[in-house]
Amino acid sequence: MVDKKYLLNSIQMAQFVAKGYLRFDELVPKAINDRIMQDIDAGAVKPAAAGTPLSQCYLPPSAVGEMIRMPEVAGIIESLVGPDPLFDHQAVHVREPNEDSAQAMHGDSTIDTRLAFDIQLMYFPHDVTRDMGGTLIVPGSQYRRINEMDIARYQNFLGQIQTVCKAGTLLIVHHGIWHCGRQNKSNQKRYMFKVRLNPAVRQLRLWNTDDLTGEESKPQILFDGSHKIPELQAILNSREPWFENGDGRLEVINRIKQWRFLTGDDHFDAYYWLTRLENEPEAVRGGIHF
């Protein structure tokens, strides 16, 4: 059990629900980064069988295990996929120097229609400059129903994020997020170590929910610029620069459904988007039944 102070808060969770990722810069200390790089180069980072509880993976003296068991990292994992999630697979992604092209845009695994979600830890053990081609992600793409490389023709989107970071940075992404390894134009190899984790429990209020007071889920006055909307609803209602006008609204509905799933609050809404669609009154005027 992770100390509550290391769990995510509700605003961070809403940001994950909205954008499909969280980023933690330079979270892992240099001593662990250096040892992980040595282990990667030596081929010493060994995966477990799919479905193995994470507590049985990367046992000491594994440097990767040391990273995953850092309370800050363990708190992120537990907030999103619960205690002792299942190891799915790992990958050491290497982008060779002076490549001709990038990896095509894709979503990992297959089309996946669950509200339950896996997470992927994308860990950068060394500094990544822009030329080195850090992982590109498309924020807010995680709910789009596509199958793997179906989207390979998409080269660029407004608001795409090119990962440029210092050593020890972690991206935690929803399994459905669109991404690719960018072209490495530098003279150095570029590494990214990835671990996919599956929840072993229902993903219900796993983070630090002390900041949920009920205010954040109250109906709001709409289209009134003078009225302050709770931050949580504003995050869920935000649009990514690449969203089409119409589907951008549907993405907000996707997020509301995800938030309801995570909180167990079947009446939660942001900006009335879903409540409006659910309104099919059955009461008859004057109480007369025909």
Binding site: A102, I146, N156, F157, Q160, C180, E244
Partner: protein
């Protein structure tokens, strides 16, 4: 006689209107002069689809407006407003 090669520009727009703003873009250059790939630029080549026409690109595909399949009205998937342009260039 010079050979002709095709350049393809795909713009993903905000709505079905050609003069709306660009949200995503892809380029394939059959002349071999340019090599485009995923994540190679953060700024679109044009602000709107119409701006591409004004710069000499010929529109060769308009996205059809197809009603959502029953049961999938709230589902999001591919970019809906994919406009395909071409230019023919001598090599």
């Amino acid at each position: 006689m010079a050979a002709i090669r095709q350049k393809i520009l795909i713009l993903y727009l905000a709505t079905s209107a050609l003069d709306d703003v660009v949200k995503g873009w892809t380029v394939y250059d059959g002349t071999g002069k340019e090599a485009h790939t995923t994540g190679d630029s953060d700024q679109p080549p044009y602000k709107t689809g119409l701006d591409a026409l004004k710069d000499g690109w010929r529109l060769i595909q308009f996205p059809q407006l197809i009603p959502p399949y029953p049961g999938l009205e709230l589902t999001t998937s591919f970019q809906k407003y994919e406009f395909v342009f071409e230019k023919l260039e001598e090599v």
